[in-house]
Symmetry: C2
Subunit: 551 residues, 2 copies
């Protein structure tokens, strides 16, 4: 029989496992007696349902079947015997603070009195959820692809019909319900290659090097999977920025690779210094095998836009140190600050001459979820691999084939993003108007956010040069830090209090990583301008109140 | 500097790595001299493009940049230093035979003369690609969700509009372009739970136990991820049927879990015998820690439908032996044979009484890709977890949150599948007509396939009781086996020859597993009836010719 005992323990923050822990849980976790029954107070046999909530917020009806007179025995699959790599995964962007936000929303719907009437979720770059309207042309073509009967309909412009027909002709049985090739629909990969060539001033792009994906996250994890190997001191090390987008640390935990942290320079607008890369790399060589360098440009959560010089330095460093480059460029259209410009890693690589362009191995990632379209729900994306060994590429193709194909509606959407209406086409004017409006509003909100935050004593905020986030630094009084240490990291304590008092959901800086002793939060700049002003004012008032309360 | 040497070796079948190999490649693979340049003859610098093709069929333009006068050095990432677990992954359904089929299609387009005019791809369960038309109601609602302007349009029935409005209201910003909750849109999880309750005669289903997914494959791999742990003799063992759907073996290779094979009984219509489960389990306990039992019902690739008694026996076995049950039930509507009926594992589990229903830990999987809808491209699916430890469930929720959410159009589609038009709604008659026609045609083709194959000397075929495939056994002459052994497994040799001579693409039985010394292939029954008859005739003629040639 199974000797498992069900552990009785406080149902805590599910993201607080120590990332450096090895495959065993800390000894301090004492399992309960055999047959112990974990019952969060007041939570069972209620018929209520909440989204993505952690144990104390949920009703587990099947769990409650233990009340039917049958004694509940230990489970086969428990926190103690499950995959330890999965336990080490953390993902703050949808962590406990978001779960609490969802619960508060429910309480509001049920009439519970709060100091606010709605929760504003500025935790995630989800443009449509913040009220941004979809781009008409994209959605017209998607409707036509979904229900081709509409091709007979006069209300759709000819260019939308043409695009839909071309996509449908490339689909099995002319249906987006057929599987595509695992690498993505061939004509869409061609369109992506043309888009890249045009973007990069004519530098060639080979459709064979394009892999469509389920959002950029899917492609990023896939490339990391190929690169991870070794045990002990030979374990693959992957360099990621601090602060970082936590997909990276989560994927490394799951793949059991070594995270090598390099710090962005907050005092210099979150810029990247090759000296810091070198420091981090040389230190890491003592205990692992560094093989990969990940860059996010424009930055998430930090919003910086890398200069051409910086990118050149990074490429030179990658070549000298034999590192595979991963360039996360999903915010490539989101550049706002004067004097800033997006330079793709591929373009800079090829401009550095054949000594670089034929040697540096690289993958670059893009997505339909960000930029002006913000179509997160479709999970569209692509990667371009450069200088990848043909045998490894065959393995990559094999690996992606196991999941059959990326969602075809997302592939179709990506096709429209890389092949938008042209000046001589009927949808061009509307398309450009909608696109420009979205990007102009974002630029305005980027400026507004920086300006207002920098008027608040105790908040300092770098310019939001690009992407969709601000990552301001907050001074927390020592008393608040001491108070928080009883149960939470200080910036989580701050953000939770902000959520409870003002109904604003942010993500604590600790979810992205930050220099020891500093505190931040990430906030999207996506709310509509008037709402963003309100959010900024509420945060300002809260910060002043918080500072006073703990002084 | 990087000491890597690029290996020079024949570009072979990329799926032939020995699955039992440990983390190192066999010693017999000798790396080439440093700087050796791997150049598949005649393949580089051509501008042609092919889909998912292995090295010998591709042009690697960036690879060819080595010809620009710059000596090509060893790659950072090579077959020798990449993730060995990924190398061990095999997925025959989209393996080398399909890549050859795609190449032949291209040759036909280019005017190359062949003994046939089209390639018929009966290798994968892709209904729309085989000409099946999408169900009107599903696509109408998807078009409305994609482009809500159409809600003003009188051409759409009211029930389609109502469904679309309900889905949109549940989306952030009323857009399917917003991220959903990671577990899936709440109202859709409710609809799934109602669907399960109705299907299972009222046995309760809790929406908190429903996780929407990116097709069933995604959910299956996610559950396996939770369950895998341990090293050496403690490594998690997972029982899978032979023949199996190769997603399972591929996932186990990638997760470094131990595959425990149990054989289905071909002589008894591919039925499952608990004695065989016990044999396999007890043998495996000598070298690993068996924790999971995977069942596919109706069967893929074998098409059997399990009896209620068999399911009860399996559940009892799982409970006695402390195994987590994974029930792959994606073909639950695809049951054709008289006397056969689909019984869900959950229903049988709950009918066995609280001693079972409160204890056996289980996950059941479903998909929008099969049944009558065949909407593979949308990557919709769900799983229901039963009796899962609440703390493990919180880890599951955390894990799925890293990938943000399943594609929202796929979630919307799933909602329509679990909540189809009702008898009092305007779309009901058309919906039922379309649904019935698809399932009736499949039933007819299932029978036809069995009948015709069994008239061929050297082919024996069990009844296709359900699912979408036949897995007939083929007798191969010894001379053919000897001939094949020079480079291929014999059934791959057979299927490749069939593809070259008749233009029919099947998957060799070796891709699914089969008893030593037996040979099979998997063929879908999806081609339209007239085309299916042609396919069956061509295979018959080929088989007779093949047998004669090698006798």
């Amino acid at each position: 029989d199974q000797p498992a005992a069900e552990a009785e323990r406080p149902a805590g923050n599910m993201n607080t496992d120590d990332q450096s822990a090895q495959s065993e849980e800390p000894q301090s976790r004492v399992p309960g007696p055999p047959g112990a029954h974990f019952t969060p107070a007041g939570s069972h046999c209620s018929s209520s349902v909440s989204l993505c909530a952690p144990p104390p917020l949920l009703c587990f009806r099947s769990h409650c079947s233990a009340m039917n007179g049958v004694p509940q025995r230990g489970k086969l699959l428990t926190l103690d015997n499950m995959n330890p790599k999965v336990k080490r995964v953390e993902y703050a962007v949808r962590g406990p603070i978001v779960q609490r936000a969802v619960q508060i929303e429910k309480e509001l719907r049920e009439g519970v009195k709060k100091p606010f009437t709605e929760v504003i979720k500025a935790n995630i770059g989800d443009a449509h959820a913040m009220g941004q309207k979809p781009i008409t042309f994209l959605r017209q073509v998607l409707a036509l692809c979904s229900y081709p009967e509409l091709l007979k309909d006069n209300q759709f412009p000819e260019d939308a019909k043409k695009r839909a027909q071309r996509i449908l002709e490339a689909c099995g049985g002319h249906s987006i319900g057929a599987y595509s090739a695992s690498q993505g629909i061939e004509c869409i990969r061609h369109d992506v290659a043309h888009f890249i060539e045009k973007r990069d001033g004519g530098i060639p792009s080979n459709p064979d090097n394009i892999y469509l994906s389920t959002g950029a996250s899917d492609a990023i994890v896939t490339i990391l999977k190929l690169l991870v190997s070794g045990e002990g001191r030979d374990r693959t090390g992957v360099m990621i920025s601090i602060p970082q987008y936590p997909l990276y640390s989560a994927a490394l935990a799951e793949l059991d690779a070594v995270q090598i942290s390099y710090y962005l320079d907050e005092d210099k607008c979150w810029s990247l210094d090759v000296k810091e890369l070198r420091r981090a790399l040389y230190a890491a060589r003592q205990h692992c095998n560094p093989r990969v360098l990940c860059i996010i440009n424009p930055g998430n959560p930090t919003g910086q836009v890398q200069s051409r010089q910086c990118i050149e330095d990074v490429i030179r460093f990658a070549k000298e140190e034999n590192l595979f480059l991963m360039a996360d460029e999903v915010y490539q259209d989101n550049v706002y600050a004067e004097g800033c410009q997006f330079h793709s890693f591929k373009k800079v690589l090829f401009e550095m001459g054949p000594e670089y362009s034929s040697k540096v191995e690289m993958a670059s990632f893009h997505s339909t979820s960000k930029c002006y379209m913000g179509e997160c729900g479709f999970r569209g994306g692509y990667m371009e691999v450069i200088n990848m060994d043909p045998e490894v590429k065959a393995q990559l193709t094999k690996l992606v084939s196991v999941r059959l194909c990326p969602p075809v509606p997302g592939q179709a959407l990506l096709d429209l993003v890389v092949n938008p209406p042209q000046p001589d086409e009927p949808s061009y004017a509307t398309f450009m108007k909608e696109r420009t409006a979205v990007l102009a509003a974002l630029a305005e909100k980027a400026k507004l956010t920086e300006q207002i935050f920098n008027t608040v004593p105790g908040i300092t905020c770098n310019p939001v040069q690009g992407a969709m986030y601000t990552f301001p630094r907050i001074s927390l009084p020592q008393k608040a830090i001491d108070k928080a240490k009883e149960g939470q990291v200080p910036d989580m304590f701050y953000c939770m209090k902000l959520l409870e008092e003002e109904g604003i959901c942010l993500v604590p800086g600790s979810g992205f990583g930050q220099r020891e002793g500093t505190f931040h939060f990430r906030m999207t700049i996506l709310p509509p301008t008037e709402k963003l002003k309100l959010v900024l004012k509420k945060i300002k008032d809260f910060h002043l109140r918080f500072t006073k309360e703990f002084s």
